[in-house]
Amino acid sequence: MTDTSDSTSIRDAVTRHLPRRYRAELRFRAAGLAAVASAVGILLVLLASILSQGLPAFTVNQLVLTVELDRDIVDPNGDGSEASLRRGAYSRVLQDAIRAEFPDVTSRRDLRNLFSLYTPLNATRLMDAVLEDPALVGETRTFRMPIADDLDLYLKGRLVEDRTPDTDGRLTVDADGSGLAIRSSEPDFAGLVEQATGMLQAEVAALEARAAQARDRAAALEGEEAEDARYEAERYDGEAADLRDQMAAAGGRIELGDELPSVLVELEGATVRLTALDSDGMTARGEAMLGEPAGMQAGAGAWTLYVIETPESRRRVDDQTIVWTRALDDRGRISTDFNTYLFTNADSREPELAGVKGALFGSILTMLITIFLSVPVGVFTAVYLEEYAPKNRLTDLIEVNINNLAAVPSIVFGLLGLAVFINAFGLPRSAPLVGGLVLSLMTLPTVIIASRAALKAVPQSIRQAALAVGASKTQSVFHHVLPLAAPGILTGSIIGLAQALGETAPLLMIGMVAFIADAPTLGLEGLTQPATVMPVQVFLWSDGAERAFEARTAAAILVLLALMIGFNALAIYLRRRFERRW
């Protein structure tokens, strides 16, 4: 073969393979792009869901009440001393304030309900305010307190499904025996009648279906079991027949029990709950929930129909409480504020007063201990191992063990902390000091490995240059190698610390996974006070029985995320600051 034909055939071969190579490249790039897009997509979905869950927790609905700090009540000894002020009946002050809003409420049961509009813990807050400023005694002031967590959710539209259907007619309310007769000039209730009838018929159908099912089962079974199934079928049949009879006997009138939606009629300053709807869709019976509606009239558009779709038996808040809440809202006694309790309070059993302050301070104290222990120890270990240590069996052994430590499950460090720091050294439980020590142990291998990698990456020529002008080994390390490795060391250390910041498992063993109602003080003495940390707070709240903790969990995650982002931003800033080319 001559050279020319050779080069032509090579060119042919290259050209032949070219499309395949380009296709492979295209495939790879498409796959990469898809990977990035899906990662970003998942991240956005995650962030959106956390935000939508957590953002409502950043606002709180507060009762704004006028409290009379009567001297006789809050200062029983009458000397204005702290001891006397502490004995004051602050809950009575709050009770009086809310009773002043609803003077009609007199029965014990209703009063108990009324006082559950807020948590009794607010009395302590009021006491604290008075203790801070004793001049308040004898004064009349407005006092803000968060409304009960369920009502907060109700006001945010997250507790019940509700709607306000349009109304056209003139409304008249008349006393009728023990109840009220309600009449609209237009069939404003027709839609409700239809809805309620449909629901009752569906209920009947469901009962009949269950009876049929039981009968089928009875046919397939024998003996006692068949007897039981037959009995069950009869029971369902009976219930269905009763319901049908009721509907027939009422002559089209539908009783609104607690299994059906609640219907409220709101007039000027009064509220009526409908107890029964007539089939004509224009008349109904009701009972007064607020004010004195008997004898009232309202023109078209001057009254509203408010329907709570979630039946009373299936929600945590009854109609009466909702009526009071709406009335307070109507009178401007409720203001929606930024939820400062989330940041100024530590954990609480009452969601409306629970905050992340304790966990935040605990995290800060724990991280300070971790930073001051793991970073210097880790960096200098790395410097010694990388720059000074002779290369022998012992060094190899140490290196292998450090690498293994990085792979040890974090809970094992918690066990170690329990055995060594708490049992052997006698350090207090639940303390940020012990938490920091345990997290330092966990972070050390990461810091050492990252620092060694960063030191290795410093070119040998820099060390030689320093040595050649007569620098000693230590001078060459501290003047040149360490500053050049600083960005890498910082990045590695901060990744390790960020991991420690998000760690719960090792803290389980040393008692930091606990309900702690007081925030530790930010200072030396805070190191031994009981505390918890942010991820633990998220974990505890996610387990909370109250529904309002759901939003607070997401809010705590947001705070933790913000902390992490801040941490990483600091890492990027420091890296940029120290980064030098060589």
Partner: protein, 271 residues
């Protein structure tokens, strides 16, 4: 060097070296790395105030010998140096000699320019600072300026001393490194292939600089370029397979080598 004026100006002739005293005396210097012999019984007398070139194929031991002179071999694990190596009559290879003190009087320039990632000023000032050569800021300024002038870099960088040393071009970086080396006023300057990473123009500048510097310093240069050796050096040593094959006046080595291996190498038959 106050007495450099007393030397005759015909140094550039490069033949008559007898009047320069011997600066470095090596006798039976052997180096092994992890038991592997890299340098075998090298004995050489290097004259002061002149340029001595070490030439030879890769791996022949010329750089290894150079690194013996400032004990840089100490930093290599498993390196063993035996034999006698004296600079101005002081035994270099002695345990009692602190390499830090030695390196203060034996500067070194490496193959690849390796300025510190600091400002130009700090690069030059680093040596004087750690050795405490300047008592005040103005003294330090004077040393930096003098060194940069000697390295022929002052005109180019005088107005940007605070720029990073790494922002200079390759040739400028190498001259900066030379300035750094001479800032501590060494007696011997070792250059390990200082121009191999540079373009011909930068190389010419460095060679010009080397020629100027030899008035004050004993310069030993390792090079792969025989033209360079011929251009800048007064004496040339040819290394081969860890031994010193031939050592003599540069002119003689290149025109009339005694050893057939030298002959083969300079005529390009191997290496």
């Amino acid at each position: 060097m106050p007495d450099n004026q007393t030397h005759s100006p015909d140094l550039t002739a490069g033949i008559d070296e007898t009047e320069h005293p011997t600066k470095v005396i090596a006798r039976d210097v052997c180096v092994s790395y992890d038991g592997k012999q890299a340098l075998n019984s090298v004995s050489i007398d290097v004259p002061d105030r002149s340029v001595t070139a070490f030439i030879g194929p890769s791996g022949c031991g010329k750089s290894t010998f150079l690194r013996c002179l400032n004990r840089m071999n100490d930093t290599i694990e498993g390196a063993r140096v035996t034999g006698s190596l004296k600079i101005d009559g002081t035994e270099v290879n002695d345990r009692s000699i602190d390499p830090v003190v030695l390196r203060a009087s034996v500067g070194m320039v490496f193959q690849k320019p390796n300025p510190f990632p600091k400002s130009i000023y700090d690069n030059v000032a680093y040596g004087p600072r750690i050795h405490g050569l300047a008592l005040s800021r103005s003294e330090l300024d004077a040393i930096v300026e003098k060194s940069l002038r000697k390295a022929g870099l002052w005109e180019e960088v005088a107005d940007r001393l605070s720029d990073p040393g790494t922002s200079l071009s390759g040739g400028q970086q190498q001259r900066l490194v030379i300035a750094r080396a001479i800032a501590i006023n060494p007696e011997v300057i070792l250059m390990d292939e200082p121009c191999s990473a540079l373009d011909p123009i930068a190389t010419a500048k460095i060679e010009e600089l080397i020629d100027e510097l030899r008035e004050n310093y004993c310069i030993i240069i390792v090079t792969h370029s025989m033209q360079q050796a011929a251009r800048v050096s007064q004496k040339t040593a040819f290394f081969h397979m860890g031994t010193l094959v031939e050592f003599g006046a540069t002119e003689e080595i290149f025109t009339n080598p005694r050893d057939p291996r030298t002959q083969d190498y300079i005529t390009g038959r191997f290496g």
